[in-house]
Symmetry: C2
Subunit: 398 residues, 2 copies
């Protein structure tokens, strides 16, 4: 590895470690209060009490009724449940078969829309974004048709950190009585999340993005939104999501979300300052480099770039050898050789999009972490460019 | 509570406590090796290595290739994924729109078939069962049509413990080139599970039935079975089940399944002996009582009964006051006032089906647990019957 012993983890958008306080909150539900919450005896009721308490805690943070909180197995399931469940119910109810989303959604949204188009006879409009990855609310308005079943636009982009104007889009959807879903998986734990203030009808969260475990998520669904169950079976989650409840993780999710929002204001300010220094110094010290995503309307922990004449994967491997964990975009698609649809969506060429790097900060990130990246990255880029037949000679000698 | 301090848990079919060795196996993946297995740096690769090892371990137990093992969020998801994914793919490929299942499946199978019938234009044949809950393989053969898309018959029934002749049914399905799925959620951890010996194409498991955590399952799917993804998004699980992998629980599932099959032979024999005594003595000491399910072809840990002139719920509450945890059937449907579809399926009347009691044994069950139930249950039944206007006077005085 590197000259230092400690790993510098700058991929908090991919996943986060589970907070030890969250692990502690979960542990009793494995071996002590391990009953099935549907059982009527005391052991089951104890688990049911924990489940209810977690639901109320999450509802408190979202500012909704506990009966509007549905626990799922991950953010991807929440997105699938929202889009499949609402689109199919609306089509059945109203005959509507049109979905509006953006070109830069997470694959959990995009592939679900594509699947509904391919196998479910839906029509999908992919609203484009500007060079910063911003969706124009007026473009959403213009895309609405009489047969629009639902709209799904993400709260913040996972690759480039851009925060979308979802309040404005929600207002447009409400005017037209069209259910509006937001994938808040990347925003959850840091951005404001009161569903009434956002004006959304459905909102997806995933615990492992805010120091909870991987394998549990939330779907907020406003009372009255048309919905057909996607996962059928027992009567759990008021008949809308079958399956024995994962009590330990649900307790963990509630704890993690609570801790995240207790710390959010101070932590957002701390991370934004580190992020700003990271962005400023990288842009200043590395030629032919560009920030991706919005310069100011972006997640407080997110810095993302493209470097010309280098491959993102090569940067990652070089950083890994120095003990720095980073990503070229979404972890869900790593291994794929296609350039990111998000980077193409903001208008980058295939060639430029290949040289992407995402650094996402978190609780373990310190001034020293940033110093270390700034000390190493310019040389890595220079060395990689020196090996590239495409890079102008001046870049590897600068 | 009762005169004793310790709870006697006789509802292992509803759920089991997590084995402390399983908790220990999971713990490092929360706070030490917590990377996203899709990430390419060392922290992610460590998680990926654990994921692969767990997959190989499960594949070893099932006797299949690791590439045929799909991790899901629960048994219900495995059943949904199998039935929705294969039915929809087969219809697309061959135009087939007929599903065969039994009348006594778990709701994860039944409600999924019903949902496909109601919203997906499928036709479902519910093969009846005999008085013991046995499916007749010849009835399955007779139900096959030219447009049969798939067959799903459970390995062992969760309410009455009957073990179905799935090898015979699988052979019939294979002859006709129809994919065969078995819901092995209740059988997993105790009955033989080599997929080649069973001859099944798809098989569902849920960890919390064999001392693993609630919230993780397996779907075995034979290579080449037509399948359309049900949960879409990132490329996890070879593109067939999107969502960041729940590494700790997957590691835990593999560990729990391994431990269960290491112990299965001895534990099955021990539990079957206790079960037989329980059944024999209850039938001998309580009048107007009947064993439900097959007398011999039943899960080694399962004893289930109906008592005339009493409500199952009242028995459960009385047992709970004595510190005994039991069930009237499936935990997934408790709270419902409808009698069990399984008990109606074996030909019981509504009235008789209401008086059901399921006692399912497990690792914590001892001779003393059984003694205690046998000492208490006859008096409980007698007392409840004394309060029932329907019970013949002789029964409450006997």
């Amino acid at each position: 590895m590197n000259s230092q012993d400690e790993i510098i983890y700058l991929d908090h958008a991919a996943t986060t470690p589970v907070d030890p306080a969250v692990v502690e909150a979960m542990l009793p539900y494995f071996t002590e209060k391990w009953g099935n919450p549907s059982s009527i005896y005391s052991l089951g009721r104890d688990a049911g009490v924990a489940l209810n308490a977690a639901r109320e805690q999450v509802a408190g943070i979202l500012g909704c009724s506990p009966s509007e909180v549905y626990f799922t197995s991950c953010g991807t399931e929440s997105d699938n449940m929202a889009i499949r469940g609402v689109s199919l119910a609306r089509r059945r109810q109203k005959g509507t078969r049109h979905i509006i989303t953006s070109a830069i959604e997470h694959h959990a949204v995009l592939h679900t829309c594509e699947s509904l188009a391919k196998y479910g006879d839906f029509d999908v409009t992919y609203v484009p974004v500007d060079q910063y990855g911003m969706v124009d609310p007026e473009a959403v308005r213009a895309a609405i048709r009489d047969d629009t079943a639902m709209i799904s636009i993400m709260y913040a982009n996972n690759e480039i950190g851009t925060i979308e104007p979802i309040r404005e889009i929600a207002a447009i959807a409400r005017e037209r009585h069209i259910p509006f879903h937001t994938d808040a998986v990347q925003a959850g734990g840091s951005l404001p999340i009161k569903v009434d203030e956002l004006g959304v009808d459905l909102l997806s969260l995933s615990a492992h993005k805010f120091y909870g475990p991987k394998g549990v998520g939330v779907l907020y669904m406003k009372r009255g939104v048309p919905f057909l169950p996607v996962q059928t079976g027992g009567g759990q989650e008021r008949g809308k999501r079958a399956g024995t409840e994962n009590v330990p993780y649900i307790v963990g999710l509630a704890k993690a979300l609570t801790l995240a929002y207790e710390k959010a204001e101070a932590e957002n300010a701390r991370l934004a300052a580190l992020r700003d220094r990271l962005i400023r110094d990288i842009l200043a010290s590395i030629p032919e480099c560009q920030l991706t995503g919005h310069p100011t309307r972006r997640l407080p922990n997110s810095a993302s770039f493209v470097f010309r004449y280098v491959e993102g994967e090569s940067i990652l491997l070089s950083l890994d050898m120095e003990g720095i964990c980073a990503s070229s975009g979404s972890a869900c698609t790593s291994g794929s050789l296609d350039p990111s649809h998000v980077l193409l969506g903001i208008g980058l060429t295939h060639e430029v999009a290949h040289g992407s790097l995402r650094l996402t900060l978190g609780r373990s990130t310190t001034e020293e972490s940033i110093d270390r990246v700034l000390a190493i990255l310019p040389d890595i880029i220079k060395r990689l460019r020196a090996m590239s037949p495409l890079a102008p000679r001046a870049l590897s000698q600068s």
